[in-house]
């Protein structure tokens, strides 16, 4: 029986052959990641173990991004634990405020992850790196501690679901809409414990940023990982960036898939996830005219340069609705700088948006844009659980950057064609 992408990568990272779903294997890990929420617990567990060194100073990556710039004394203390650990153990990849970014945008940008890697991160959206043809999955702090000590992690070999996207994307439809549609279709536990392998002509035509967005949200369907085959776009992205040579795998023609889902993307329009589950997905038309108090554009899902360019294209020369707070978070310092140089940040500020330094901030209700009781936000982030962005009785809708930008102008959830199309006529 043939093998899927995920099976092949795991097999090349362990001492066993012909892996089958359900089997538990110990794999060598190429990159181990922690942030300011999860690393302090991992550091404590690591130090309790009494090990003198991390398994590889180049392969441990620590990014304070959730509550930075430090929102209060408790947050500052967590980051201090990380910073001191990084210095004491000579961890090469620690990223301080001013050089950092949201971890899942930062690691690919810095070339720390490449195709064929096994990556674990003590953050559920670690699955983002599947866009590069890597096996990447979220774990807890205790797992991170074990990997920092041993360089190895246990995995249950997952079954793989294959998702094939045919046809050509409609205007205003992005990777975000494809993944929201998919989660809406299979449900928030539709891929539980499984690998999601994304393929098809619409995927080949999708930008790397669009693929990062899709892989990022595999966890919202319960998946262990989301993964794409390496193609010319992946190679072009990795070239001159990745610190290690890519290892390229392709699934066998007779690979065993537990399920195959097919979508004609020509039939998929802009999508919106209603409160309070990422799987509660409807076409944007069904949300139209829902008033909103806040719009958040950014995060590890949709804070990349192409996202910001698209938003600027819609906001240019317009004003944010007076009843809406629009907060935009470029995901990394490099994205921030490029947006600055391209004049994008000027467009945002002129439109009446607040532009923030990179941080996870409001996505998890941390800081920098918390909702009061009864308030409603539209966000390009990945989760809209009850109280996710603030008060337990506040609401979050999820959408693409284009829908978010159009909605910020009208003060209600809006199809981008309602704004841009109207102007052009």
């Amino acid at each position: 029986m043939g093998k899927t992408l995920t099976q092949k990568i795991l097999e090349d990272h362990c001492d066993e052959k012909d892996l089958v779903p359900g089997q538990i294997v110990q794999c060598r890990v190429d990159i181990a990641l922690g942030n300011d929420v999860t690393a302090p617990l991992a550091i404590k567990a690591f130090e309790d173990l009494g090990v003198k060194e991390v398994f590889d100073k180049e392969k441990v990556v620590l990014v304070p991004d959730h509550f930075v710039p430090n929102k209060d004394i408790a947050a500052a203390t967590q980051v201090k634990v990380m910073r001191e650990f990084a210095r004491r153990y000579d961890v090469k990849n620690y990223f301080e405020v001013g050089q950092m970014g949201i971890e899942h945008a930062l690691l690919p940008e810095k070339g720390l992850v490449t195709a064929g890697d096994v990556v674990i991160g003590a953050d559920s959206h670690t699955c983002t790196y599947g866009a590069l043809g890597a096996f990447a999955t979220g774990v807890g702090s205790t797992d991170l501690a074990a990997v920092m000590a041993t360089g190895q992690c246990w995995f249950r070999v997952p079954e793989t679901m294959r998702f094939i996207y045919y046809g050509k994307l409609q205007p205003w439809v992005s990777g975000k809409d494809l993944i929201l549609h998919t989660i809406g279709d299979i449900g928030v536990d539709g891929a539980l414990y499984r690998a999601m392998e994304f393929t098809g002509e619409a995927i080949s035509a999708l930008s790397m940023d669009g693929r990062f967005t899709m892989a990022n949200m595999a966890i919202e369907a319960g998946a262990k990982n989301g993964i794409f085959e390496v193609d010319d776009a992946t190679q072009a992205y990795l070239k001159g960036r990745a610190k290690n040579p890519p290892r390229i795998y392709h699934p066998d023609k007779d690979a065993e898939y537990v399920e195959v889902q097919e979508y004609d993307v020509g039939k998929i329009g802009p999508q919106v996830a209603f409160p309070s589950l990422p799987g509660n997905v409807h076409p944007v038309e069904e949300a139209e005219d829902t008033p909103i108090d806040q719009v958040v554009i950014g995060s590890c899902t949709n804070g990349r340069l192409s996202d910001l360019r698209e938003v600027a294209g819609i906001l240019r020369g317009k004003r944010v609705h007076p009843y809406v707070r629009l907060i935009i978070f470029p995901a990394t310092q490099e994205i921030y700088l490029n947006a600055l140089r391209e004049g994008i940040l000027e467009v945002f500020v002129e439109a009446g948006a607040a532009v923030s330094t990179p941080t996870c901030g409001p996505c998890l209700g941390g800081h920098m844009g918390i909702l009061a009781e009864g308030e409603r936000a539209l966000a390009t982030t990945n989760r809209n659980f009850p109280g996710r962005m603030g008060h337990p009785k506040s609401e979050v809708y999820l959408s693409s950057p284009a829908v978010a930008a159009a909605s910020a102008i009208r003060g209600k959830i809006t199809h981008p064609a309602q704004i841009v199309g109207k102007e052009e006529i």
Binding site: L49, V51, D123, G138, D189, G365, G387
Partner: protein
């Protein structure tokens, strides 16, 4: 592993933000986290939960974040074990790594209300409701994960099998 306790019943898709809201994740102190355990699902839970109580829920318990603050908060609140129709994978993994007993059991939670007493017999793989005759089957735990529990969690497992001169034990 056997537990007898009073149950608190929750529905499907109880995510980690409901178990421990992210606004409290600036600390990992178990007692501080326990004070807000399940707060966004049931604001009165931290006050009414008692040592030895059992959380029973529907599908996909623990979805969302990878943070171990969720199982830490549950353990520190005194909850003996969690029984659900299914668990999100990172929560499932974290629970075993940290030795929080969890059981997958279908068909149970819809038959329970807050305050009922259940008997969980992990060795026999069954759960019964006090005062009722019906037996509910618990899904078997893979041998590797049983080994993790026997070793006392992942760090104990790592100490036993990996920590050797090649990784410079202090």
């Amino acid at each position: 592993m056997k537990f007898t306790g009073r149950v608190w019943v929750f529905g499907d898709d109880v995510d980690t933000d409901q178990i421990i809201p992210a606004r409290y994740l600036t600390t990992s102190d178990p007692e501080a986290l326990a004070r807000h355990c399940m707060e966004d699902a049931d604001p009165s839970f931290p006050e009414k939960v008692r040592e030895g109580d059992i959380i029973v829920a529907g599908r996909n318990f623990g979805s969302g974040s990878s943070s171990e603050h969720a199982p830490i908060a549950i353990k520190a609140a005194g909850v003996a074990c969690v029984v659900a129709e299914s668990f999100a994978r990172i929560f499932f993994r974290n629970a075993f790594n940290m030795a929080l007993p969890i059981f997958v059991c279908e068909g149970l939670y819809k038959k329970l209300k807050d305050g009922d007493i259940i008997h969980v017999d992990g060795d026999k793989g069954e759960i019964t409701i006090e005062g009722g005759g019906e037996r509910f089957t618990v899904a078997p735990i893979p041998p590797f994960m049983q080994g993790l529990i026997q070793d006392g969690g992942l760090m104990a497992y790592v100490k036993k099998r990996f920590v050797s001169p090649k990784v410079n034990v202090g």
